[in-house]
Amino acid sequence: MLARRLVKLSPHVALLPMALTVLLAYVGGALWTLRTSFTAARTFPSDKFIGVAQYVRLFDNERWLLSLHNLAVYGALFIIACMVLGFLLAVFIDQNVKGEGVLRTVFLYPYAMSFIATGLVWQWLLAPGSGIEGALRQMGFAGFSFDWIVHQDLVVYTVVIATVWQASGLVMALMLAGLRGIDPEIYKAARLDGIPAWRTYLQIVLPMLGPSVATVFLLLTTAVVKLYDAVVAMTQGGPGIASEVPAKFIMDHLFLRSNIGLASAGAVTLLVPVLALLAPYAYARSRRARAGGAHA
């Protein structure tokens, strides 16, 4: 009797760590932050509710607004560049080329490196005078200038370059896996119809890669929202506050500026685009699960 009851209980006991993680860390943490964003908390949590005052303050804050602006510019460029470069690499690798294995290894290795290492390498490469700029000047292009990293209006683009270098191999790998799943007959049929190769890829193959593209888009978008390490390593948010991003704004206000209330309001704001993106994805998933039965 007892043994049977134990067996029935075991799965629940086994899933206890997961339940605690979900309820305490994820749900509890998010609710705690939501609550804190409505309080006047500074160094310590507070029970003094002040409505949406923190949000008003947040969207009055020049640094936060600049961070959002940077994130929008960075996000759009990063996602587009990664997608285009990754897709092109996958398509070109898929042309039966020699040395495919070597090329794949070369395109993906930066993804194994941390954003910190990535940021530091590119900081060195882009350092005005001594990096690429200095090298090209020595080669005889005396007037050559590439000082974006110390330029207020251009510094964001250097972060794009470094992170695209790090992440586009991932897009290549996922797209290539998608391409390998496509029936080769399609290429043959398109060729017989006299459709040029580039149109075959753009108008026939790309739409067939829909699920891969969606996955890649989701992964890249979450990477954009989480952008922190690369900026810390490369520019520390500078010059001035020119390359600040929301994740860094939140971290600075949590741990350096003792303004938990404001930081929490920022964190909740950051959560909105993520949830907006996840909702349709989760909806599609649950619909698929219902249509396909329990084993989906």
């Binding site: 086994a14 194994a112 954003f115 490469l125 896996a177 390998r180 390490d229």
Partner: protein, 298 residues
């Protein structure tokens, strides 16, 4: 994933005529274009690695006067010695963090995946859905409440704290990997073990775990790489004594005043990237498998 190997033959190049068996490619302009593109892309990807390596062997005067792309004229190992002195503590800290932060999440992920796939207790799938969604939420949302809870429990800023945080944030991916792996195991196998009188833990330990080696390898690759490359969690939770290598590296390079020793910096950066890069180069396709398995959420 499973039909991947069947598709090993790449689709034929669109612009050449399809002679089915022995086809010899003529060198067409299009073909040259393909190689030109791939070659320039490879240069772009290799350039930082090349510059990192050669810079780490140059003495400082050569860096100041020379060209960033030029090979070292007088190669020296001094920067490497200095770099190891600067980040070796971080290296051992990262090892101390990475070992339990890999073993525990894999074990929990395996148990979760097994329970979710075969026992399906009520409500477990909802829990799992929330866990997966959690993987997409920026850590900034959860970081302060965790700091607060751990400070109250008196473990904040310690090795157990950073390990616990890695367990929490590694759980979505680890659970997903094992759940999907066990979903491909025939249910009859589980039924047979049940009929033989196997209980929850016995079936897990004697039937499921022994056949999980491939996914354990994939999970270990993913988790070690993720933990080793983490910066933000180590910075916040590890405490002064246990700062991981990434944090120490960034401190050495970005908060040191005075002349920048680029050669030492690059050597230290290579040292910090060495573990995940070694895993990547050695594991090869397994690494890609891990990415693919982790990317297909659900």
């Amino acid at each position: 994933m499973s039909h991947h190997s069947l598709q090993a033959v790449a689709p034929p190049l669109p612009m050449t005529n399809a002679a089915p068996l022995k086809r010899r490619r003529r060198v067409t302009p299009a073909r040259l274009g393909v190689y030109a593109f791939l070659f320039s892309a490879a240069l772009f990807f290799l350039l930082p690695l090349y510059v990192m390596i050669i810079t780490s062997f140059k003495p400082m005067p050569e860096i100041r006067s020379g060209n960033v792309f030029a090979l070292p004229a007088m190669a020296t190992l001094d920067p490497w010695r200095q770099a190891w002195g600067a980040v070796s503590q971080g290296f051992w800290n990262s090892v101390a963090i990475a070992v339990p932060s890999t073993v525990i999440p894999i074990l929990l992920g395996a148990i979760n995946g097994y329970a979710l796939s075969f026992w399906r207790p009520r409500g477990a799938n909802v829990l799992f859905g929330v866990l997966l969604a959690g993987a997409f939420i920026p850590v900034q949302v959860m970081i302060y409440p965790l700091v607060w809870m751990m400070a109250r429990a008196g473990v904040f800023g310690s090795l157990p704290a950073i390990v616990l945080v890695h367990v929490i944030f590694g759980m979505p991916l680890m659970t997903l990997l094992f759940r999907n792996y066990y979903a491909s195991v025939p249910h009859e196998l589980f039924q047979a073990a049940r009929i033989d009188g196997g209980g929850f833990w016995r079936i897990f330990l004697q039937v499921m775990l022994p056949m999980s080696l491939p996914i354990v390898v994939v999970a270990a690759i993913m988790q070690v790489t993720g933990v080793w490359n983490d910066y933000i969690l180590g910075l916040v939770f590890a405490g002064r004594e246990n700062l991981p290598m990434t944090v120490q590296l960034n401190n050495v390079i970005n908060t040191t005043t005075g002349t920048r020793l680029y050669n030492v910096n690059m050597a230290a950066t290579i040292l910090t990237a060495a573990v995940p890069l070694a895993i990547y180069f050695i594991s090869g396709r397994w690494f890609v498998r891990g990415i693919a398995a982790g990317a297909v959420k659900g």
